[in-house]
């Protein structure tokens, strides 16, 4: 049957293929709006929010801790990870919330699924009612018979070449394939984005599911415990002054306090470097030359 080609009526293209695509796009937009309507803005769980914020702070300490001095770092580290009474090692942390315990939380995602399921069912019924058994398009390359399940849903013809696509399958292909096209229509305007930010500050929005405080805290406490602290500002003067960084010890400049001040302080246009007394002692200090 390799050479036999079905001739597809151009009217199918004009009256089925394109309208179906258009419908899928429009239904996608509609679905988005339905979901937005069904989504209830419930107050966030204050406890969970607070746990998350503390976690953010601990993560920040781990990530940026090298910018603060050792004492400040270890004080905070102790606050978070102390064996006794450390904030991340509290005894009575809630584990993963049981979704059954809170039917409201269960209903939230279900409601948002409703729009999807509802429109999908409608579209399925629509395509199969009007275009049952239609062969809409032919992909321009040969395919193996395994693709028949995917591309020829609703048309059980063993003799039909696998590169022909049935109406129901075309609907699915378009629905999943055009997701990004639909998203173009639904692009968030700046105002909507701002509204979202303010909503979260007002403490409403969709609560997330499955935040296991106990587990997350324990792992964060462990990583924080292991986090090394190397004060990044140890050699900041070296970075700042570059080649002008003095290699002479301050002790060799005894009695020249003002000069040493200029040496460290004034970095304006290299005047400081000229002021640095070069011939005074000249004892080189290894710590000054370290280039780490």
């Amino acid at each position: 049957m390799g050479g036999e080609h079905l001739v597809l009526d151009p009217a199918i293209r004009d009256w089925v293929v394109f309208p179906l695509m258009l419908m899928v796009i429009l239904v996608g937009v509609l679905r988005h709006n339905i979901t937005a309507l069904l989504k209830a803005d419930k107050p966030l769980d204050k406890e969970e929010l607070s746990y998350k914020q503390t976690l953010t702070r601990a993560k920040r300490l781990r990530g940026n801790g090298r910018f603060i001095c050792r004492e400040a770092f270890s004080r905070r580290k102790g606050y978070f990870t102390a064996k006794e009474g450390g904030l991340l090692r509290q005894e009575d942390l809630p584990g993963q919330a049981n979704p059954m315990a809170n039917p409201d939380k269960m209903m939230g995602p279900m409601k948002s699924q409703m729009g999807f399921v509802g429109t999908n069912m409608f579209m399925m019924a629509f395509t199969s009612y009007f275009f049952e058994g239609f062969v809409l398009v032919r992909v321009p390359f040969p395919l193996t018979n395994r693709f028949k399940v995917m591309l020829q849903r609703g048309v059980q013809l063993s003799t039909l070449d696998a590169s022909y696509v049935s109406s129901t399958s075309w609907y699915f292909l378009v629905m999943f394939g055009l997701k990004s096209v639909i998203n173009l229509f639904l692009r968030e305007t700046p105002v909507q984005h701002e509204a979202k930010v303010i909503q979260s500050q007002l403490g409403v929005g969709a609560a997330s599911m499955g935040f296991d405080t106990k587990k997350v805290y324990a792992s964060e406490a462990d990583s924080l415990d292991l986090a090394p602290h190397e004060w990044l500002l140890n050699d900041v003067e070296k970075r700042l002054l570059g080649s002008k960084y003095p290699t002479t010890s301050v002790y060799d400049l005894a009695g020249m306090h003002d000069d040493s001040a200029a040496m460290f302080g004034a970095n304006d246009g290299g005047r400081a470097a000229q002021k640095t007394p070069k011939g005074s002692g000249g004892k080189k200090r290894p710590s000054g030359k370290r280039s780490d």
Binding site: P43, L49, F67, Q201, L202, G203, W231, A261, F264
Partner: protein, 262 residues
């Protein structure tokens, strides 16, 4: 950085066309630039376009309310607030603006009552809780404000704005050790912000002592390193720190600390 765009946006907006005006107000909102004068001037022109603004109309009304309150123009604020109240009765966002109007009028008790009610309705409402602190500060009750902020930060620990406010309050109360803690927290939030490093350096410098002076010098240096041009405050702090007795002698200590750091 972003402030550089402002004059240009203003020049374009002065033509009175819809989209430049809208862009200007959007810019002010997004960058959180406190220029109530500009907002009032151009926002008024923009509102003459009315309905063609779509949903943004209400955001602009809101912006006008805060700008008017900021410049002490309570009647104008009231005008825009009424529009919003009519459109969104029972909205928490509008309710907060109402509370702010009460604050501007000086009736702190009424404002506090509004915020109290909002927090009760939704304990996760961080904006209302921050306003509560603002009321206490406006009343001059620093101790109360510090207490309230501490309570707030126990729950919203990652809120940089609150840490900044707490640092300012502590500095006002000459409680430098606590202020340093807050600024350290801000350094953790924004380690590449030269302002925070500079402020932390100032606090360390004020506390004094060899160790703190060394830390002050480090943070001032970091500030200057992050922004070399035009960072007069950082440079001045650096000079002051290095010129103060007890700062220059810590080469030995620095090595010691480096050793301890490894």
């Amino acid at each position: 950085m972003s402030l550089k765009k402002l004059p240009e946006l203003c020049r374009e907006a002065s033509g009175g066309k819809l989209s430049p005006l809208r862009d200007l107000l959007r810019f002010l909102r997004k960058e959180k630039i406190r220029r109530p004068d500009l907002c009032l001037q151009y926002g008024k022109q923009l509102l003459t376009y009315g309905r063609s603004l779509g949903d943004e109309l209400w955001v602009i009304h809101e912006q006008m309310v805060t700008a008017a309150l900021d410049s002490g123009d309570v009647p104008t604020a009231h005008e825009h607030l009424q529009v919003l109240t009519r459109k969104f009765p029972g909205s928490q966002r509008v309710r907060r603006l109402e509370g702010m109007r009460c604050e501007a009028e000086g009736s702190f008790a009424a404002a506090a009552a509004i915020y109290e009610e909002m927090v009760e309705a939704n304990p996760a409402n961080s904006l209302a809780r921050k306003r509560q602190v603002a009321v206490l500060i406006a009343k001059g009750d620093t101790a109360g404000a510090v207490k309230a902020l501490n309570g707030y930060l126990a729950e919203f620990a990652a809120d940089g704005e609150a840490w900044l406010q707490l640092a300012k309050l502590h500095i006002g109360a000459l409680n430098y050790a606590a202020a340093a803690f807050c600024y350290e927290e801000l350094v953790l939030v924004a380690p590449s912000d030269h302002v925070v490093h500079c402020r932390l350096g100032e606090v360390y410098y004020t506390m004094g002592g060899a160790e703190n002076l060394m830390r002050a010098r480090k943070h001032f240096s970091q500030s200057v390193d992050l922004l070399k041009a035009g960072n007069a405050r950082g440079l001045h702090g650096l000079c002051q720190t290095c010129a103060s007795p007890g700062c220059g002698q810590d080469f030995e200590q620095e090595t010691y600390w480096q050793g301890g750091g490894g």
